[in-house]
């Protein structure tokens, strides 16, 4: 881990919550920020953050991490609670450990990557964002998904793609079961290229040929 000497350091354990969030909102563009003192009860961390900055969180985070976020690049060293990247608009969120349910729910844009496990309802109602999970993923991934890409590198649980209307799911490994409206498609060159880019962005090594592509049978316009 780098020394935070040349970075802005915000320690939640030594600040009041309102002041902490106010300082986080006022971070100048292009700055690098180190956040520490957070825990799994720190809900709404970086919610609504709209600043082109790099945020490194050296701890855990609670629910709704980077909710409705824009522009910022966030790296979380600990675990995240439920609904990380909820309604994400742009920017990126990289979780080095595991996260809870509803990862990237309603994300309209941006990128969410998880190196550890992910709970149920991953990519719930995903609406244009990109989500990559390296380890095991729970059931009902991509439920209600309308657009965007969901990459699952270690299989998927039951009901993959339930009520899915659009978008693409890439899965490496076994799928416990998938919804009747979803079927496997042939991997095209464009899919392969897209997948390679997403894996590279998440810092995950992998061969696109090992993945299978799933899409809804009738795609929404």
């Amino acid at each position: 881990m780098e020394s935070p000497a040349d970075k802005i350091v915000l320690n939640l354990s030594t600040m009041d919550r309102a002041g902490f969030h106010a300082q986080l909102r006022s971070v100048p563009t292009g700055e690098q920020v180190v956040v520490c003192g957070t825990s799994e009860k720190t809900h709404g961390l970086a919610a609504g953050l709209d600043c082109d900055c790099a945020l490194e969180i050296r701890g855990d985070a609670g629910d709704f991490l980077f909710m409705m976020g824009r522009a910022a690049a966030i790296e979380l060293h600990g675990i995240a609670g439920d609904c990380a990247g909820y309604s994400l608009c742009s920017g990126s969120l990289l979780i080095r450990k595991s996260c809870g349910d509803f990862l990237g729910a309603y994300a309209r844009g941006g990128f969410v990557g998880v190196h550890g496990r992910c709970g149920d309802y991953c990519g719930y109602a995903l609406d244009g964002g990109d989500v990559v999970v390296r380890s095991v993923c729970g059931q009902r991934a991509a439920c209600g998904m309308t657009s965007g890409d969901l990459v699952l590198c270690n299989g998927a649980g039951d009901d993959l793609g339930l009520n899915m209307q659009g978008g693409t799911i890439f899965v490496r490994g076994d799928v416990a079961s998938f919804a009747p409206q979803v079927r496997m498609f042939r991997m095209k060159d464009t899919d392969s290229m897209r997948l390679s880019l997403l894996l590279a962005r998440a810092g995950i090594k992998g061969d696109a040929k090992q993945f299978k592509v799933y899409r809804p049978k009738v795609r929404s316009k």
């Binding site: 919550r17 309102a18 969030h21 106010a22 909102r25 809900h43 709404g44 919610a47 609504g48 709209d50 609670g62 629910d63 709704f64 909710m67 409705m68 824009r70 609670g81 439920d82 609904c83 909820y86 309604s87 608009c89 349910d101 509803f102 729910a105 309603y106 994300a107 309209r108 309802y121 719930y124 109602a125 609406d127």
Partner: protein, 324 residues
């Protein structure tokens, strides 16, 4: 069908401590909202909220209507885009509606004076908990995150049906919401369940240790007396859509003046309707002040069911108000 409002009367007045009559009593109709953990207060001078008519496509003279609501210190439940045509000096307090099962819009949330998260489906208006908020503590975390995303000092409330179960209402109150909107989904004339519902909601607030939690009531209140009854039973602010409906529904105001009159009275129709609404709200304010004075109370928060009396035992039983 019996109108319960006709079976309720004012309770005998309590004399104020400083005088023998209440004519000189200074009364206020204001309602304040405050976000948890913030010192900033969102102030409404009157308890009037425009909700169902808050649609610029339905009301051609919408900017004038907003100006009237601004003048009277009321609030409008409307998306930010609906206020784009309104002069900035005439902007009323905006309650930003946020629907479940849709992605949250940062611009919508970042510009609202109050945020109302509707627990009803946007399409069919059936209510229920979104699957991501069903688990224990998730609603609390969501409201906290929403508040942070909005800047930390914007009150966040939840909208749910007035006839929801007591447990659900309790769950909402324990979620840290800064206000609760109760929507009477069946828009029929004032019925027992509306009066009983708002009374029960206020009692739940008291039981949960939040006696001053603002409760916004969306019901078919077509007169200042109906509004007063609901405010006495526990509401903090009420919708005025039904009161304004007769004026807003007049199609003549939407038709441009033609012929010779077009050059003489180009703005007459719009101005006329806005003026009539202003006059109606002015009269409603006067009546509310008068009712408060008659009860010897200074502000709406001091109203209680004890300010009312039921003329019949069955009405007393239905509304929970003492019998005359």
């Amino acid at each position: 069908m019996t109108n319960l409002l006709h079976e309720l009367v004012l309770a005998p007045c309590r004399l104020p401590p400083e005088g023998r009559n209440t004519d000189s009593l200074q009364t206020a109709l204001s309602v304040d909202f405050q976000a948890l953990g913030s010192n900033r207060t969102v102030h409404l001078s009157t308890p009037w909220i425009l909700r169902r008519w808050a649609d610029r496509s339905a009301v051609p003279d919408w900017p004038e209507l907003c100006a009237v609501m601004h003048k009277f210190g009321g609030a409008v439940v409307a998306p930010a885009a609906d206020l784009a045509a309104v002069d900035v000096s005439h902007l009323p307090v905006r309650i930003g509606p946020v629907c479940r099962d849709t992605p949250l819009d940062p611009d919508e949330i970042g510009t609202a004076d109050l945020i109302e998260f509707d627990l009803r489906h946007a399409s069919n208006k059936r209510w229920g908990w979104p699957v991501e908020l069903e688990s224990e503590g998730k609603l609390f975390a969501f409201i906290e995150a929403l508040r942070i995303a909005a800047g930390g000092d914007v009150p966040v409330g939840l909208a749910l049906p007035l006839n929801c179960q007591a447990d659900e209402l309790r769950k909402v109150m324990q979620s840290g919401a800064d206000f609760v909107s109760l929507v009477a989904e069946r828009h029929d004339p004032m019925q027992a369940w509306v009066l009983r519902g708002i009374r029960a909601a206020r009692e739940s607030c008291v039981a949960e240790g939040m006696p001053d939690l603002p409760l916004l009531l969306d019901a078919e209140l077509d007169s200042p007396w109906a509004a007063f009854v609901c405010l006495a039973l526990g509401a903090s602010a009420v919708t005025v859509d039904a009161m304004l409906a007769p004026i807003l529904a007049q199609q003549t105001a939407q038709q441009p003046v033609s012929g010779m009159l077009a050059g003489i009275l180009p703005d007459f129709p719009a101005a006329g309707r806005a003026d009539r609404i202003a006059a109606l709200l002015d009269e409603a304010n006067d009546q509310m002040h008068e009712l408060l004075r008659l009860q010897g109370v200074r502000r709406l928060g001091e109203l209680s069911p004890k300010c009312l009396r039921a003329v019949r035992p069955d009405v007393a039983r239905i509304t929970g108000v003492d019998q005359l």
